[in-house]
């Protein structure tokens, strides 16, 4: 057994209907304990209705050096934004 517990990323859903949101990370020996620790570390002020945890090592991330190739081409394409549709005021969370 290695001395350090693996790192877990924590996602909390704050209310029904919303998506889980990344809130931070913590150490835990396994998934069960990671959920328990996440409950104590990230939802003690009534923030959540659901918790996901995933091992940080299992997340594939884009590399900062690829930033220009990945993101710059999208910067000048205003027509991709759906801002031309007026949304009724009553519609939330979009």
């Amino acid at each position: 057994m290695s001395k350090e517990w693996p790192l877990w990323e924590v996602f909390v859903r704050s209310q029904h209907g919303l998506a889980h949101k990344h809130v931070g990370s913590l150490h835990a020996p396994d998934a069960g304990m990671a959920v328990k620790n996440a409950r104590d570390v990230y939802t003690r002020r009534n923030e959540g209705v659901s918790i996901w945890v995933v091992r940080s090592a299992d997340i594939a991330a884009s590399s900062p050096s690829e930033r220009d190739a990945l993101f710059d081409p999208a910067s000048s394409k205003v027509y991709r934004h759906p801002t031309f549709f007026p949304m009724p005021d009553e519609v939330k969370n979009i």
Binding site: M1, W5, K36, V41
Partner: protein, 256 residues
């Protein structure tokens, strides 16, 4: 003794066990084995303080019915000496190693959850209300401490040895939870309190199941150390109170 006199005594037992154990858990702040455990233990402690406050609040009202004047939560917590505290001896035992802390928590949580579930059906509406709220917290505490007993018991040779030693050491204090006195029996018969004796069988079943999964041996029945509920404590409580009460004793009614 009147029912209210018994009830006051009983409420102080519930409140004092919560408060004293919470103070012990608070001693881990900044010293937990990992920061996640540090926070989790403190959360449990804060839950217990929350419950203690509700019990003290009701105890003060019952005391006012009896004597015309009831103490508030701070007077109960900070202005009583060790012999006036009614907590279980188990709650005041020192933190020791992490295995000792987990063993103490495990033995207490299993009892606490059972007791609160019975009290949630109390004929006294206030008792039922506070217990129902506390039972949800206690269910999590019980799951968490049992989880650690299993992890440490069924872990490495070293963790197994230390977990077993901790259970063996604290076992003598567990029996007190199931030995009622006249006040408790009277309240149980009135449908207000929990019958301590009736909690023994379900506690045994729950504890045995966890110990088996943790590959730990249930200690043989031996001498039961008791007296906490009547105010006869181990030498540890005085030291705990000295630290907890210092500010209010040195500067009565100090506020910030």
């Amino acid at each position: 003794m009147s029912t209210d006199a018994h009830l006051l005594e009983y409420l102080l037992r519930l409140a004092d066990s919560d408060l004293v154990l919470a103070q012990r858990l608070g001693e881990w702040v900044g010293k937990g084995p990992v920061i996640e455990e540090d926070i989790a233990l403190t959360n449990v402690g804060l839950d217990l303080i929350g419950q203690a406050r509700l019990w003290y609040g009701y105890a003060g009202e019952v005391e006012a019915r009896l004597t015309g004047e009831g103490r508030d939560e701070d007077q109960f917590a900070f202005r009583r000496d060790a012999h006036e505290f009614r907590n279980l001896l188990l709650a005041e035992q020192p933190n020791g190693s992490y295995a000792d802390t987990i063993a103490r928590q495990f033995l207490f949580d299993q009892w606490h959850l059972l007791a609160l579930c019975v009290l949630a059906r109390s004929s006294d509406a206030r008792v039922a209300e506070v217990a129902a709220k506390g039972a949800k917290e206690a269910a999590y505490h019980a799951e968490r401490s049992a989880d650690w007993v299993i992890r440490l018991g069924d872990g490495t040779d070293e963790s197994h040895r230390r977990m077993q030693a901790a259970i063996d050491e604290l076992w003598r204090y567990a029996g007190e939870m199931f030995v009622p006195d006249a006040a408790e029996i009277a309240l149980a018969e009135a449908g207000i309190g929990a019958d301590a004796r009736a909690l023994q069988a379900p506690w045994d079943a729950a504890v045995d199941a966890v110990l088996a999964e943790a590959t730990l041996a249930r200690p043989a029945a031996g001498h039961v150390q008791k007296g906490g509920k009547q105010g006869r404590h181990t030498e540890h409580l005085g030291h705990l109170l000295a630290e907890m009460q210092f500010l209010q004793r040195a500067y009565p009614d100090a506020r910030w």
